[in-house]
């Protein structure tokens, strides 16, 4: 029997955010927006969802006068991502 895919990760934008954060130490909002080609509003909503689940840490700070939001994947996020990929493998017979 197939394991159910984590609905929080099985969505295009959230999965893209998590994939980026998995391969870097940290990324800011502008970088994530550029790489995922998403709108600020949508990206902000999805970041909040991932943060509420404890998958990512979000730090809001300032660089000079500009605000800067920096996101970082958490150990819970890494584990959830690994489980998600394991489930995917089951579906794809890998």
């Amino acid at each position: 029997m197939f394991k159910e895919l984590n609905p929080l990760l099985h969505s295009e934008l959230r999965l893209a955010i998590m994939s980026i954060l998995l391969s870097v130490e940290e990324a800011d909002f502008v970088y994530l927006k550029e790489k995922t080609k998403s709108t600020s509003g949508n990206l902000s909503v999805q970041i909040d969802k991932l943060s509420e689940a404890g998958y990512i840490d979000v730090e809001r700070g300032f660089v000079g006068k500009r605000t800067r939001t920096v996101c970082k994947i958490t150990p819970i996020g890494v584990k959830a991502f690994e489980e998600y990929v394991e489930s995917l493998k089951g579906y794809l017979n890998l």
């Binding site: 295009e12 999965l15 998995l22 130490e25 990324a27 995922t36 998403s38 794809l92």
Partner: protein
């Protein structure tokens, strides 16, 4: 990108594509830290050599502390200016390597100035050349790897050359070890 459901195959492709997108490429400005520390060290060395050799006054050696005084704020300014939106694991490793070697350099220089007599120019070149070689190996950039190992060998010149001229040798080594490869790294980044 919208919040749409994906097929399993699309999910896997998306993960691979996003990870590929984050792979750090050689970029314009990568060589700037080498240029900041390289040019600062060369300039301060020439200044110390000129003042020390023409007056014989050892107090001019305190001017060596101009290197961190100029280098650190310039580095901070450069980090802010070159904000690229991400910090990779490679960035983290390189910054830790240089924090460790930087602290070692400052501790040993301060000890040499106030406590013991040490072959300080030799030790500083050796420390910085090891840091350079590690950086080159981590970013896999041959001119930096080569200059790091060349610096290790050239450091012995600081033991062999005597008198005021050893300061000029020290400056020359930093020119070869940091300034030249820093320019090559920038040039390669610009070309990409």
């Amino acid at each position: 990108m919208e919040e749409k459901k994906l097929s399993e195959k699309e999910s896997l492709e998306l993960i691979a594509q996003m990870i590929r997108n984050t792979q750090q490429k050689l970029e314009r400005g990568n060589g700037i830290p080498f240029l900041i520390w390289g040019y600062t060290t060369v300039a301060v060395s020439v200044l110390v050599w000129y003042l020390f050799s023409s007056t014989g006054n050892p107090y001019w050696n305190f001017l060596w502390f101009l290197i961190p005084v100029i280098g650190f704020p310039t580095m901070m300014w450069n980090i802010r200016k070159q904000e690229k939106g991400i910090k990779t694991y490679i960035d983290k490793v390189i910054s830790y390597v240089w924090i460790a070697f930087g602290v070692a350099g400052i501790v040993v220089s301060t000890s040499a100035m106030f406590i013991w007599t040490l072959p300080i120019l030799f030790i500083v070149v050796l420390l910085m050349s090891v840091g350079t070689a590690i950086t080159g190996l981590v970013i896999q950039f041959k001119p930096i790897i080569f200059s790091g190992f060349a610096g290790m060998l050239l450091s012995y010149l600081c033991l062999l050359v005597k008198g005021y001229e050893v300061i000029l040798v020290f400056a020359l080594i930093f020119l070869v070890m940091m300034v030249i490869p820093g320019h090559i790294l920038n040039w390669k980044g610009r070309k990409k």
